[in-house]
């Protein structure tokens, strides 16, 4: 039994995911401290401010990061924030477009006005260079992103009249699946002279810049030092972080739907680990008895 055919394990895990998807349990979701900090930080931003969202991921991590993007955009538009979207990963620009489609559908379903491209949000697309793009944005947006994804000069976009450099931004969000991503933003933005973050507890953030991130569950633990030192003011970790954020916004989405299957799958894996160790010790005892 300690060397169980892995196809049985695969089948049990598959059932553990499929059954709760078809028959939801409705487990309560209690947001964690880093997610509450993320939400509260955005609530400090005054209406009409300019923020930047960097889509640093691709379709492989969509299930974890796309719900974060959708919730973040929804939160920004509900506070009438002006959003500049960029991407440091090649497919990030398409991820941004897809997230906007979903947000527009949600806003339409709620009967709210839709954000207008060019005035409320822009998608400047992908630029290669990672950290050097971040350095370039510190002084001159136009030099790094002369055109948007539609090929329109940014000088023709009304929103970009007010965003010439990072000093015009009140917050930067990095939805990150790897490098370049959150580590690049944290390290390079300070080095490049971006505005400093507000101190913990500070409510007037005029002249300051928040740095907030969303990461996959696998990489989120490595960003806790940044939270501890106030280099980041909030963090969404994995699908659980996305679900917590959706709960705080009262915006049910795919992350919240995924919590039941994820819970049962985790429980199944823990049961497998415990079973394997029980069989391991039983077999070990048998071998010891045979030896004696």
């Amino acid at each position: 039994m300690s060397s169980l055919d892995r196809r049985i394990i695969f089948l049990v895990v598959a059932l553990a995911v499929i059954i709760p998807l078809l028959l939801p349990i409705g487990l309560p979701i209690k947001p964690t401290a880093p997610v509450k900090a993320f939400y509260d930080s955005i609530e400090l931003i005054s209406e009409g401010s300019y923020v930047l969202i960097s889509f640093d991921y691709d379709p492989s991590t969509m299930p974890e990061l796309q719900p974060m993007a959708i919730s973040l955009l929804y939160h920004c538009f509900s506070k009438n924030l002006k959003v500049v979207m960029i991407a440091l990963w090649p497919q990030g620009a398409q991820m941004a477009d897809l997230a906007m489609e979903t947000v527009n559908q949600q806003l339409q379903a709620e009967g709210k006005p839709l954000p207008e491209y060019g005035k409320d949000y822009v998608n400047l697309g992908y630029k290669s260079g990672g950290g050097l793009v971040i350095i370039g944005l510190a002084t001159n947006f136009g030099a790094i992103f002369p055109l948007d994804t539609n090929g329109t000069r940014i000088s023709e976009l009304p929103l970009m009249d007010k965003v010439k450099s990072a000093h015009d931004l009140q917050a930067v969000f990095s939805l990150s699946a790897g490098d370049p991503g959150i580590p690049a933003w944290v390290m390079v933005s300070r080095m490049a002279g971006y505005p400093t973050p507000p101190q913990p507890g500070e409510t007037d953030i005029t002249g300051k810049m928040l740095l907030l991130g969303g990461a996959t569950a696998v990489s989120a633990p490595q960003f806790y030092p940044y939270l501890n030192t106030n280099q980041m003011q909030g963090l969404l970790g994995g699908m659980r972080g996305a679900a917590d954020y959706e709960t705080l916004l009262a915006l049910p989405g795919t992350a919240s739907e995924g919590m039941d299957p994820q819970s049962i799958a985790h429980l199944v894996i823990v049961v497998f680990i415990i079973m394997a160790n029980i069989f391991f010790f039983l077999e070990k005892r048998q071998e010891e008895r045979k030896a004696t």
């Binding site: 299930p63 290669s128 659980r240 199944v268 823990v270």
Partner: protein
């Protein structure tokens, strides 16, 4: 000269980036280099594309192991490129292919990891000694505490979620900080070696 020229470029460019931290006089040059780098990085895409095509065509021509998989790779590569050039990337076949093939296949590949993690955990997580026991206990607590089931029913009384947050905020953070500092020192060391021409792996030398 063939070796000295690239070493000289690396040294001069590296020194400019370092000195500009201490002297504002070099900042305009550093900004110019930043823009040049972005342009050069785009050429890396072209190089990668050419290399990928050459290697896979070679594989098909020589019928090396796995050559059959190179055919859909090249068809996908050329097909998506042609669709984007002819129909654009805002709508049309490119968008359909991206949304209905690229997205689900990419998400599926990453999702397969869940099954392999379950299988690997069953086979490898054994409490052979006390460090392994500590790892196992922490893993079980975090796995259950990170999902809503860890706060539900009788497990809610165990406060697994609170213990998980403590593990993430203290032992995990301390360990990650140590790894980060170690990695940063390693980056400084290797960067100095590259700038001074001691490390020449990027030139194709050992």
């Amino acid at each position: 000269m063939k070796k000295q020229f690239p070493l000289a470029i690396v040294f001069i460019a590296g020194m400019i980036f370092i000195v500009q931290f201490f002297s504002p006089a070099f900042t305009p040059i550093q900004e110019r280099f930043t823009h040049w780098y972005i342009v050069v990085a785009v050429f890396a895409f072209v190089l990668g594309l050419a290399n990928l095509t050459r290697l896979n065509l070679q594989k098909i021509h020589r019928q090396q192991e796995g050559w059959i998989y190179s055919i859909p790779l090249l068809i996908g590569l050329v097909g998506m490129a042609l669709c984007s050039f002819i129909f654009g990337i805002e709508e049309g076949p490119f968008v359909w292919l991206f949304n209905n093939m690229m997205l689900p296949m990419s998400a599926t590949m990453f999702s397969l990891l869940a099954f392999f993690v379950a299988s690997a955990s069953y086979r490898a997580f054994r409490a052979r000694h006390k460090e392994a026991v500590m790892l196992l206990v922490a893993a079980v607590i975090v796995m259950l505490g990170q999902v809503p089931i860890g706060s539900a029913g009788f497990m809610g009384h165990l406060r697994l979620s609170d213990i998980t947050q403590w593990i993430m905020a203290y032992p995990n953070m301390a360990g990650q900080r140590a790894i980060m500092i170690g990695a940063a020192l390693g980056v400084v060391a290797i960067s100095l070696r590259i700038l001074l021409g001691i490390e020449r792996a990027y030139l194709g030398e050992d």
